[in-house]
């Protein structure tokens, strides 16, 4: 039961690594996969590992497929192709697709969002430089003006209503008592309170 699950984890790990190694010469790719497979098997047998958690630990110590692949390209003296970095098909846990090969394997940059098809660095992406205005401007000019007029009217109306309210409010306020002094009194107690404390302390 758990053996199947752990086998799945190992198979998935090796499969993802294989996808990432597609840019390596076939023999080097096969060699690395065989080495890792032998490593995982002998770790499992020699350490009597059965639980899925322990198998995942073995895989974790090996490092993510991304990190191992980056090391493989570096040792082979090859640049990691962007397609191979992304894993040809979409990987289950999308990693940063354009991690530089020379970077430290320990610190994968977390900021790179995983856009599946924009391979190299952020700005280069040609699909993301469209001219958005040109389409709209000519077709919607008329209705645009209409909308502007409507908005202007609405604003003016709102201003009038607000003014009306203020006038009404002032009239009411004059009718009753003026609420003016509050603002003058408020700050004083706040300012005096700490002074008292300071004076009291030495005694």
């Amino acid at each position: 039961m758990s053996i199947n699950k752990t086998d799945d984890a190992v198979a998935e790990y090796l499969q993802e690594l294989e996808l990432r190694l597609s840019g390596l010469p076939v023999l080097q790719r096969r060699e690395l996969l065989a080495d890792l497979e032998a490593h995982i098997t002998s770790e499992r047998i020699e350490r009597a590992v059965v639980s899925e958690g322990e198998v995942l630990e073995i895989l974790e110590r090996l490092g993510s497929p991304e990190v191992v692949a980056a090391a493989a390209y570096e040792e082979a003296g090859l640049l990691q192709p962007a397609g191979a970095a992304a894993g040809r098909r979409l990987p289950p846990v999308p990693p940063p697709p354009d991690e530089p090969v020379f970077r430290d394997p320990v610190a994968p940059p977390p900021y790179v969002a995983p856009p599946p098809f924009s391979a190299p660095p952020p700005f280069v992406g040609p699909p993301v430089s469209p001219p958005p205005f040109i389409g709209h401007a000519p077709t919607k000019r008329g209705s645009g003006n209409g909308a502007r007029i409507a908005i202007a009217v609405a604003i003016i109306a709102a201003v009038f209503i607000a003014l009306g309210c203020m006038v009404g409010f002032l009239a009411l306020a004059r009718g009753s008592e003026a609420p003016e002094p509050m603002s003058g009194i408020a700050p004083e107690p706040a300012a005096t309170a700490p002074l008292h404390d300071e004076v009291d302390l030495p005694d």
């Binding site: 060699e31 690395l32 032998a38 002998s42 191992v68 090391a71 430290d104 394997p105 320990v106």
Partner: protein, 113 residues
């Protein structure tokens, strides 16, 4: 933080491979054995899996030899052995490293004396 990681990567580059050569200097060892040993040295290897591509390169440049052999338990093991050129590369590194280390210690102020 990234700088710290970058520094250890840079220091590792060019030295780790000679640590590998030294490991098989006196007796042949199989991959998992080598990897386990380095797994204990966290400042040398953060990910054990990256040792295998390194072993592969050392074999391709002719410093290591490898051969598969049966194991008493488990799958066949790939044993690595130091070749003659590997041995002289290791010797060369040793002399270079000592003078390199002394120079750096003197300039950086990390020397014992």
């Amino acid at each position: 933080m990234a700088d710290v990681a970058q520094l250890s990567t840079s220091l590792r580059r060019g030295t780790l491979e000679f640590c590998v050569l030294a490991m098989v200097e006196h007796e042949d060892r199989y991959g998992t054995e080598i990897v386990r040993r380095f797994g204990e040295e966290r400042n040398l290897t953060a990910s054990e899996g990256t040792i295998y591509p390194l072993l592969s390169r050392l074999r391709r440049v002719g410093w290591l030899d490898s051969k598969w052999s049966e194991s008493p338990s488990g799958p066949p093991r790939r044993y690595y052995a130091l070749t003659d050129t590997g041995r002289s590369a290791l010797e060369h590194f040793r002399t270079e490293w000592v003078s390199f280390r002394q120079t750096v210690d003197r300039l950086v102020g990390t020397g014992v004396a």
